[in-house]
């Protein structure tokens, strides 16, 4: 029982990380209609900037704003320099351009920081594990869950309750009308892109001490993020949240429990190999099933 609870918590933690990436991606798609393959690069930028500042200053507290600012600024620069010119084009040109950006950013990181992965220390205050009654759990992972949930709350408030959020919602469905009312839609787009980049950067800087800060880290998580966005429904932040938690929990559970289940049915090593294969395909299977039942995802943004 404790094991099941612990694994669910692990799934939630993975889901929260995915949500931070998926929220930006889905907003950018929903509002501007852009497929941004370079979203993973923003995650990498956040992680590298935070790792660099943490290493230079020894302070995790300084690393946080550095990671966020770097990701947001790079994001807005991408919007201003490249993506802005692709709003009216079809998805193919967007795929081509943002694929080019991935190559550029990956190699730029090699030029700036070298090929060796960066060292990131877990902030000493968050190291260690805490006893939750049934089991002990790493403090840092609990923090990620808390930060992720708080960010999700703030994002919902921002979108539902503020003027910016109102413009965002209106801009997604009635672009021309919003513009006719005198809103600078170009500025709005830049801001939203920057916001999405900021969230990706937040995920990246939090992932630093947990994973490995290295070239190509963005692409590893990018595809999974796309799965989340599509399952949730493009353009829907609620959908991204639900999709992220679903993917996180399903993925973790498959890895955690499938080998045990299969071992009851066949010999050990065969079961392990099969379980490994099935759990790798699991989230993609989940996405295929969701799309076949609900072609627009769980929470379609526009009707």
């Amino acid at each position: 029982m404790a094991l099941v609870l612990e694994q669910v918590l692990n799934g939630v933690q993975l889901g929260v990380m995915l949500f931070l990436l998926a929220a930006g991606l889905t907003l950018i798609f929903g509002i501007m209609g852009v497929i941004n393959l370079a979203h993973g690069s923003l995650y990498m930028v956040g992680a590298y900037a935070a790792a660099f500042v943490a290493q230079a200053t020894g302070s995790f507290l300084l690393a946080i704003p550095a990671g966020l600012a770097a990701a947001a600024l790079v994001g807005m620069a991408i919007e201003y320099g490249v993506v802005r010119h692709l709003y009216a084009r079809d998805h193919l040109d967007q795929v081509l351009a943002t694929f080019g950006l991935i190559l550029f950013f990956n190699q730029l990181v090699v030029l700036l920081f070298g090929r060796q992965p960066m060292f990131v220390q877990i902030p000493p205050a968050l190291a260690g594990a805490v006893d939750l009654g049934f089991f002990s759990y790493p403090v840092y992972r609990l923090c990620i869950i808390a930060v992720g949930l708080a960010t999700a709350g703030a994002l919902f408030w921002l979108i539902q309750r503020t003027r910016l959020g109102m413009l965002v919602r209106a801009g997604a469905t009635h672009r021309d009308m919003v513009q006719a009312l005198g809103v600078d839609i170009r500025l709005l787009y830049t801001v939203v892109f920057g916001l999405g980049a900021l969230l990706a950067g937040l995920a990246g800087l939090m992932a630093g001490p947990l994973l490995s800060v290295q070239v190509g880290m963005g692409e590893q998580i990018l595809i999974l993020t796309f799965v989340v966005v599509v399952i949730g429904g493009l353009g829907s932040v609620t959908g991204a949240f639900a999709g992220a938690l679903l993917v996180g929990v399903v993925d973790t559970s498959l890895r955690a429990f499938l080998p045990g289940l299969l071992r009851g049915l066949m010999t050990g090593s065969e079961a392990d190999a099969l379980a490994g294969g099935v759990s790798a395909m699991g989230v993609y299977l989940l996405m295929a099933i969701v799309l076949l039942v609900r072609p627009k995802g769980l929470f379609p943004a526009h009707g």
Partner: protein, 393 residues
Amino acid sequence: MSVIKKAACGLAAGVSILCLGGAAAAQEPLKIGMVTTLSGPGGYLGQDIRDAFNLAVEMGGGKLGGTPVQVLVEDDALKPGQGKQIADKFMKTDKVKLLTGIVFSNVALAVVPDVLDNDGIYVSPNAGPSTLAGKECHRNYFVVSWQNDSLHESAGQNANNLGFKKAFILAPNYQAGKDALEGFKRMFKGEIVGEVFTRLDQTDFAAEMAQIRNAKPDVVFQFHPGGAGIAFLRQYQQAGLIESVPMVVPSPSMDAVTLKAVGAPALGLNVSAQWNSDFDNPASKEFVEAFTKKYNRPITYYASQGYDTALAIGAALKATGGKVDNAEAFRTAMLKADFKSVRGNFKFGRNQHPIQDWYSMRVEKDDAGNPVIRTKAKILSDVGDSYAKDCKL
């Protein structure tokens, strides 16, 4: 996406010096083709092999075994197709006969047969897949590093020596991962209480940590090279497992670069390898000093293999007078392994893979409190691999 990159003579800063060295001699330099992985997460492996190989050439004044050489380097980007294309270009356009450099087994399996079929010679500084070690062994194919399985067999033996009885073992769900678990099990005498295949691109291991804790092993063996290994170790420590369950790993899971990225959580880790930077022999000391002076970064065992590969080629060239046209003469010279390996004992077995010693190491604090890998004891002496007996050479 795809990738090739070339650091041919004079283009990349690191290579330019040796080109000048070669040009000084009246003789046309011998071209050596290096196909290696320089981009993506595995890029630092190829970089170390290349830099150490070039270092050996530089230390010889632009020569290997008295023969002026020119090293052509291109990046295979861990793509087998790309590697083939580069090797093809080296052989046909640049008329290269002697190739080396490949880091990963899947690239080696695609490229090496092509090289051999075109009467080329291949000397491996890293990958040593089992397919090419047994029945398919070849007169013109030499491995200076190790046969892949040896890494994990030595870890299994290390676990025995340390007195562990119940092991939980993990590796990614691909061929090298499966070989890793097989290799460990071949040597480990205790009980396997859990066996998990992780995903190829997995970076979050929370679910596996919970499984390990639940299985209550007294040792964990894991094979996750590069970034995944860094993530695994960090999460292992964060889950509070490092205090309760010791870990035994083969060298790819804990090299000097990984150690630098992981830091303190690696303390107490048991590693097995054929070389470490603290080896107390003159060849190793000379290499470590020269590498540190030139590159000033942690030295991985990949670098030592690149260096040894250059020395081995140099020894063969010395005996043949710098000729590689007569493959049989080159082979005879190569098999003598008449060079001072940084590892100490080194010779080639019948399948032209190494027969060497394996050592156990432990991650400890140095005087300044930083984690370092320290050599502890010899685990295995003069061992080859289990495929040599199928080789008919």
